[in-house]
């Protein structure tokens, strides 16, 4: 089983990395870019007989540890 967790900065948080990347893209000639947000991507490979139990467990880990709810949002996908 593989879990994919995408972590992004909350909208209210200033994202200087995102702005810097956007600026660089524009300087390279890319047009029409409205915003860039730089986040994190984690892949977790695990053995689990119960997919739903695994999802709940990973969701808890994502909320408690893998992301910081004060400054980040996350999305969890399990395949």
């Amino acid at each position: 089983m593989k879990a994919k967790i995408i972590i992004t900065p909350k909208k209210a948080v200033v994202d200087p990395q995102g702005k810097t990347v956007q600026s660089a893209l524009e300087q390279m000639g890319h047009k029409g870019i409205k915003a860039v947000h730089v986040g994190k991507y984690l892949e977790i490979e695990l053995d689990a007989a119960d997919k739903e139990a695994a999802r709940q467990s990973l969701d808890e880990a994502a909320h408690r540890f893998l992301s910081n709810p004060v400054i980040e949002d996350y999305r969890l996908e399990i395949e």
Binding site: A12, V13, V14, P16, Q17, T20, F65, L66, N68, V70, I71
Partner: protein, 236 residues
């Protein structure tokens, strides 16, 4: 007074904190992060550094170290805890202080002297700071920008929990004086109960004149005084 200075893998200001306490006349010992007891510590210092390489997020892994459970209990019972730099980050991740520290707004690592204005002189961490004194203390961080949502910031202001703010030499809270983009120029805060505090600047690196400033000693002197008055109160 006896201070426990925590040591995580890649803490690097632990020795500075121990030295600062000792040079000011009290005792300090290093406490490895795997320990589950604080021993006979009267106060806890969480030092600066790059615990766990700042992997995932600064302080994110250190907050789950075994010793942090003892620190949580100690704080719940009113014990004094001071987090410096990475220590501040760890306290925020652990939920012992509100908000979070994120990447400096200019994406640069800042290693320089800053000026701090003290916002509340009635805490265990600020009671010995002269009221007209602007503290000169060094910072050394890449992720020191303090962030909290509007509601939390309002609460911090209303409860006088903002202990230190970045200012210019004359005490003005300007944007230029803010090295990292921290909201409200916040350099350090305390919890509602005032027994846990965190700050990004390093009072441990400003404990003796030879270091360029000895203003950091006021923070330690404040803690010594608070501990002494607690003991006096208990004896009464």
């Amino acid at each position: 007074m006896n201070f426990a200075v925590l040591q995580f893998p890649a803490s690097n200001c632990d020795q500075d904190c121990v030295h600062a306490v000792r040079v000011l006349g009290h005792s300090a010992n290093l406490l490895w992060h795997k320990e589950t007891s604080l021993g006979n510590a009267d106060a806890v210092i969480i030092p600066g550094g790059f615990s766990y390489g700042d992997y995932l997020r600064t302080g994110a892994i250190a907050r789950f170290s075994p010793v942090m459970q003892a620190v949580q209990k100690f704080a719940d019972n009113g014990g004094l805890v001071l987090g410096v730099c990475n220590g501040f980050q760890i306290l925020c991740e652990a939920g012992l202080l509100p908000g979070a520290l994120i990447r400096n707004r200019d994406l640069q690592f800042h290693c320089e002297q800053v000026f701090l204005k003290t916002g509340n002189f009635e805490t265990p961490f600020t009671n010995k700071i002269p009221h007209d004194k602007i503290l000169k203390i060094p910072i050394a961080h890449g992720e020191g920008c303090y962030f909290a949502d509007e509601e939390t910031l309002a609460k911090l202001k209303a409860n006088n929990q903002i202990l230190w703010q970045y200012c210019d030499a004359r005490g003005n809270l300007t944007d230029t004086a803010n090295p990292n983009g921290s909201l409200l120029n916040i350099a350090g805060i305390c919890n509602e109960r005032r027994n846990v505090a965190g700050l990004m600047p390093h009072p441990d690196r400003a404990s003796e004149e030879i270091l360029g400033s000895a203003d950091g000693r006021f923070v330690f002197e404040s803690i010594f005084a608070a501990l002494k008055s607690k003991i006096v109160a208990q004896a009464a």
